[in-house]
């Protein structure tokens, strides 16, 4: 499944982002973050542009990008729901919350709904361990999540 971005992929935009960060010491992660912030993902077409500018091979850039959980090759859904699956949240029943979310959103962790409304992701600790279970919806933190809250989030992201 290819990205539609290929037809109107703007290499100049990537160049500009790279230029903006090229003087940093160790610029690659800031560049990848900035590209994803700008385009919503890091399309494969961006890699040779970045690689060329940094005097790296395309494989090296791909290797870095694919190492980190944050970077995505395909755009996420319109909303991103992250549910903490780590120990402190498990102690407060996050496994059941996670199952409930899967069935409400009708997708698994790491998946995006076919209508593009929502992406469901696992996260390992949001630092909200004293108000577990925790979740994050579009960058906004939520503590003491229960099934009713998942239902409310579900209706919000689908509307």
């Amino acid at each position: 499944m290819g990205l539609d971005l290929s037809s109107d992929f703007d290499g100049n935009r990537i160049q500009a982002i790279v230029d903006e960060h090229i003087n940093l010491e160790g610029p690659l992660l800031p560049i990848l973050h900035a590209v994803q912030e700008d385009l919503g993902c890091i399309p494969q077409e961006a890699l040779p542009v970045i690689a060329n500018k940094l005097n790296l091979s395309r494989a090296e850039v791909h290797g870095v990008m694919s190492f980190y959980h944050d970077f995505r090759e395909q755009p996420a859904g319109r909303h991103v729901v992250k549910i903490c699956r780590a120990e402190a949240c498990q102690s407060m029943g996050s496994d059941a919350i996670a199952e409930h979310a899967k069935s409400r959103f009708k997708i698994g962790f790491g998946d995006t709904a076919p209508d593009g409304s929502v992406t469901l992701e696992a996260v390992y600790c949001l630092g909200l361990c004293a108000c577990a279970p925790a979740a994050m919806v579009d960058g906004k933190v939520i503590g003491r999540v229960d099934e009713a809250r998942i239902d409310a989030i579900s209706s919000e992201v689908r509307s």
């Binding site: 160790g26 992660l29 780590a86 402190a88 600790c125 909200l128 994050m136 003491r144």
Partner: protein
């Protein structure tokens, strides 16, 4: 007269509705024509009372909590702006036993000051340590930190002063201070709290480290899961630069030091220092073999101090009040204070800074108040995902590096996660292996392959094949002794402690299988 109201902007408080409460308070104040000033402070760390707002009255600060939007109108009716009585009133927050019994050195200002006000920071003893450091020789700063007994708060417990001395003794045109703010351990949030609640103390600590080692550039490697900490830290760095705390001449000393925040990208292993350095350089976060130590060849191959947030944030008070003052707290080789993070299934969850030496039982039962669900405490995991599960029989273990090590555990970043009697310890052992498999950087075989085999082996045991238990033990020995870093090397701690202390959970299906 303008009344100052403090509502935490700490993400733990925000996760419980602090933003909505703040908005409601401002709206209601406008409606009633009340003259208020809103400060988004850090959290005091009493999370079961968050959102906890505080009003500055003539008689001192009065706290109310946990406040929901629905309470706001009634609080105004009760004249909370002058500290009026209300069911949610907690009185002077510093008289709440959870807070009153703490020894707050590193977290002295957290929850009290406006995190992005340098004036407020200075009014509460901020910058005193750095001012002292500016007039000291680098070697004297290092000696003070060494004498204080401060050890790495990230988990390894290495003496901070020794690390600094190694970097000071290294020649080189460019040295670095790298702050490890990749706080990925479940059950820990002290780094997040300090960065959101008192970012200047970290800046001050890093600047002192810079002066002590002749490093002029600092990086804070901050995990992407903490967007609020990233925002507040960047804002504070901007102010510090503007006011001459950072820059070409730190507090007019003629010595340069500046800081840049770098955002991680969701890899747990980057909390390991060499993996972090690779990530900072723009590489895959793969662990490096040691030696060379980062102090000799760290970021970009140059001498680098790499310290945890809390280690660095504890330095200003040491330089302000002296090595003896800090060292006099604690016990044995664990000197000073430790911010214990009480989390998970616990009634009173939050941050509790105290001298080393409390027993685990005191922390869990007395301070934490037992489980949130009201059930029996079954296990306590201390030190994050790589820490051991402690049963009640080990609750007399005093909180200290050597003491926990002696009991087959570790204090790690001082996170304490409580589980009630519904916890399935075989499931937790499986999760530890699964997490290691997902997060392994892949460099060494015991971790990369061992974790995958670990999950399979735990699954065999779960199916009733108890003959796989010696195999799991053997695998854990291999991972412990053969892994390159703490991820593969310490994953056996939760696994083996679960197996040793909760054998029933590993034999639950054994009989059925035998029949």
């Amino acid at each position: 007269m303008t009344v100052t109201i403090y509502i935490p902007g700490d993400s733990g408080a925000v996760a419980l509705g602090a933003d909505d409460v703040a908005q409601a308070i401002v709206g209601e104040a406008q409606k009633r024509g009340a003259d208020i000033k809103l400060v988004r402070n850090g959290s005091r760390g009493l999370y079961w009372l968050e959102p906890m707002l505080e009003v500055a009255t003539d008689g001192g600060r009065i706290a109310y909590g946990p406040v929901s939007v629905g309470d706001v109108s009634a609080l105004f009716d009760a004249e909370f702006l002058s500290g009026g009585a209300h069911a949610l009133s907690l009185g002077n927050p510093e008289d709440i036993p959870f807070l009153k019994n703490q020894t707050r050195l590193t977290f002295a200002r957290c929850g009290i000051v406006d995190p992005v006000s340098l004036e407020d920071y200075e009014a509460h003893d901020g910058l005193k340590g750095l001012r002292n450091a500016v007039s000291m020789a680098a070697s004297d700063i290092v000696q003070t930190v060494t004498d204080s007994g401060l050890r790495g708060r990230g988990g390894a417990g290495f003496p901070t002063g020794i690390k600094w001395k190694t970097v000071l003794d290294e020649a080189g045109p460019q040295k670095y201070i790298v702050c490890n703010a990749d706080e990925g351990d479940s059950g820990t949030f002290a780094d997040r709290m300090i960065m959101e609640g008192d970012p200047f103390v970290l800046i001050e600590g890093m600047a002192i480290a810079g002066l002590a080692t002749a490093a002029t550039k600092g990086y804070i490697y901050l995990r992407s899961e903490y967007p609020d900490a990233i925002r507040i830290m960047n804002a504070a760095i901007g102010i510090a630069r503007e006011k001459g705390v950072l820059g070409a001449s730190v507090l007019g000393s003629g010595k340069a030091f500046d800081i840049e925040v770098r955002v991680g990208a969701g890899a747990y292993v980057c909390g390991e220092e060499t993996s972090l350095l690779n990530s900072l350089e723009g590489k895959r976060g793969v662990v490096r073999a040691k030696p060379p130590l980062p102090a000799h060849k760290g970021f970009l191959g140059r001498p680098t101090v790499i310290n945890n947030v809390i280690s660095l944030a504890s330095v200003p008070v040491i330089l302000d009040k002296g090595a003896d003052y800090y060292r006099d707290f604690g016990m044995g080789r664990s000197r000073g204070t430790i911010p214990i993070q009480i989390a998970g299934n616990v009634k009173h969850g939050g941050l509790y800074e105290t001298a080393f030496g409390l027993t685990l039982g005191e922390i869990v039962d007395e301070i934490g108040g037992g489980t949130a669900t009201g059930r029996e405490v079954k296990a306590v995991q201390v030190g994050g995902p790589l820490g051991a599960y402690f049963p009640r029989s080990k609750f007399d273990t005093p909180f200290g590096y050597e003491e926990f090590d002696g009991e087959g555990g570790l204090i790690g970043h001082a996170g304490v996660v409580v589980f009630d009697d519904t916890a399935d310890m075989l499931g937790m052992a499986r999760f530890a292996m699964e997490f290691c498999a997902v997060e392994s950087c892949g460099k060494c075989t015991p971790c990369r392959i061992g974790a995958v085999r670990g999950v399979e082996t735990v699954d065999r045991i779960a199916r009733g094949d108890t003959s796989a238990i010696p195999l799991l033990t053997d695998l854990c020995d291999t991972m412990k002794d053969g892994s390159l870093c703490a991820l593969g090397g310490f994953t056996p701690y939760p696994v083996m402690s679960a197996l040793t202390h909760f054998p029933d959970d590993f034999h639950a299906n054994a009989k059925e299988a035998a029949e």
